[in-house]
């Protein structure tokens, strides 16, 4: 079959809602884009363990400690599912981690912001997971089978993440004046990064048309962002907190909120590596990998010895 016929058959399959599986023929650009997306997504999950992990040892009571531990553990699990999904396309996790550790691969800009108070844990669950879920429910309908299946599982598990975050914020907002101030401060600092994490505006986002046709990308960044804002602003109002956007207002005609100007310079700067925590996050991952090397090697050495014994016997 010539290439064009293969592409036509491939696109017809996707248009008919049939999932693409690892061994199926696919255009090189599709494979490349998926490996890039799935590994970036996986990196974001495991780097994302760090800002929240930062507060596990300081969680204010036993219930919160257990919830936070379980949540951060889930992020690790999600990273694992996503690396596995990427591996179905013939790349190795060792290789993908190497790309992360050498700074070649990107991860979500949001995790390069610091978690400064306990309220940040609430803000992350509520805003960051809230935004991520919008994106992930869309991706669960994507065309690549392993990615879509991983997303379904992740979305199912993540539904508590968003709620526990909102619950923390609600509790703080109803608490002492200091707690309420802490909650508002966290919202002030996390709002814009959360709005930005859904990606650049459609006019600045390259290749979108083909990716949408291939169901690699399911919705435009701006559409997802609009839904996130529409859902989140009333949630903030409900607990008496104020979104830090003086231009934010509800448009009766469209039924949507309109937001103020997004500082895209900051976004691209953080992506490039100039966020408050880029260096720290990467160093933490590299250190964990280095410190783990002899452990991983020992386990392999032990397995090799036992396998040899079996052969002899």
């Amino acid at each position: 079959m010539d290439e064009q016929k293969q592409i036509d058959a491939f696109e017809a399959k996707i248009a008919a809602g049939v999932k693409i599986e690892p061994k199926d023929w696919m255009p090189e650009a599709y494979r490349k884009q998926l490996v890039r997306m799935m590994s970036q997504h996986a990196h974001s999950e495991i780097v994302g363990m760090l800002p929240e992990g930062n507060w596990i040892t300081r969680a204010p009571n036993l219930r919160r400690k257990a919830i936070l531990l379980a949540k951060v553990q889930d992020e690790g699990g999600h990273g694992l599912y996503l690396y596995s999904a990427a591996e179905t396309l013939g790349v190795d996790r060792t290789e993908l981690l190497e790309q992360l550790h050498t700074g070649k691969a990107k991860y979500s800009s949001i995790f390069n912001y610091p978690t400064l108070t306990w309220a940040d844990i609430g803000a992350i669950g509520w805003l960051v997971d809230g935004a991520a879920i919008m994106n992930q429910t869309a991706l669960a309908r994507g065309s690549y089978g392993p990615y879509s299946r991983a997303m379904v599982r992740i979305c199912k598990e993540e539904s508590f993440h968003n709620r526990q975050g909102y619950e923390i914020m609600m509790q703080l907002a109803q608490g002492t004046p200091e707690q309420k101030a802490m909650a508002q401060d966290a919202l002030d600092r996390w709002w814009w990064p959360a709005v930005m994490m859904l990606g650049p505006s459609d006019d600045q986002s390259p290749n979108s048309e083909q990716l949408m046709r291939w169901k690699v990308k399911m919705e435009s960044n701006d559409a997802i962002r609009e839904r996130f804002i529409d859902r989140t602003v009333p949630q903030a109002e409900f607990i008496g907190l104020k979104v830090p956007d003086k231009d934010m207002k509800f448009d009766e005609k469209t039924g949507h909120y309109t937001h103020g100007k997004i500082n895209w310079d900051e976004f691209f700067d953080v992506i490039k590596g100039n966020g408050p925590c880029n260096a720290k996050r990467l160093k933490d991952r590299v250190d964990a990998d280095k410190k783990g090397k002899w452990v991983r090697e020992a386990a392999v050495a032990y397995a090799t010895k036992r396998a040899k014994e079996k052969e002899v016997a």
């Binding site: 991983r296 392999v300 050495a301 032990y302 397995a303 036992r306």
Partner: protein, 95 residues
């Protein structure tokens, strides 16, 4: 020795008694015992299972997409393998 992330194992979980094991995902592990434990820790965090199988990913042989026609289409023209193929007069029971 070169450092790796360990070989990949496929994980199959039986969710409740009497039903088949279903593919849940994969884990990396240096050997079978660790694969079993890792599968337990990764895929049964929400009481999803009661029994786990782990299989080295490279021990699985899969049919190819190109085989689809020759493998599966021949069974399409054998409707007589399905009970709905047969007409049974109304009133006849237990058949």
């Amino acid at each position: 020795m070169s450092d790796t992330q360990w070989p990949v194992w496929e994980v199959f979980i039986q969710a409740s008694p009497g039903i088949s094991h279903k593919h849940a995902g994969s884990v990396h592990a240096p050997d079978a015992e660790m694969a079993l434990q890792n599968a337990r820790d990764v895929y049964s965090r929400r009481s999803e299972g009661m029994n786990i199988w782990v299989v080295p990913a490279n021990a699985i042989t899969a049919s190819s997409p190109e085989d689809q026609g020759s493998f599966f289409e021949p069974s399409n023209d054998k409707p007589y393998r399905h009970p709905t193929f047969y007409k049974i007069p109304e009133g006849v029971k237990y058949l």
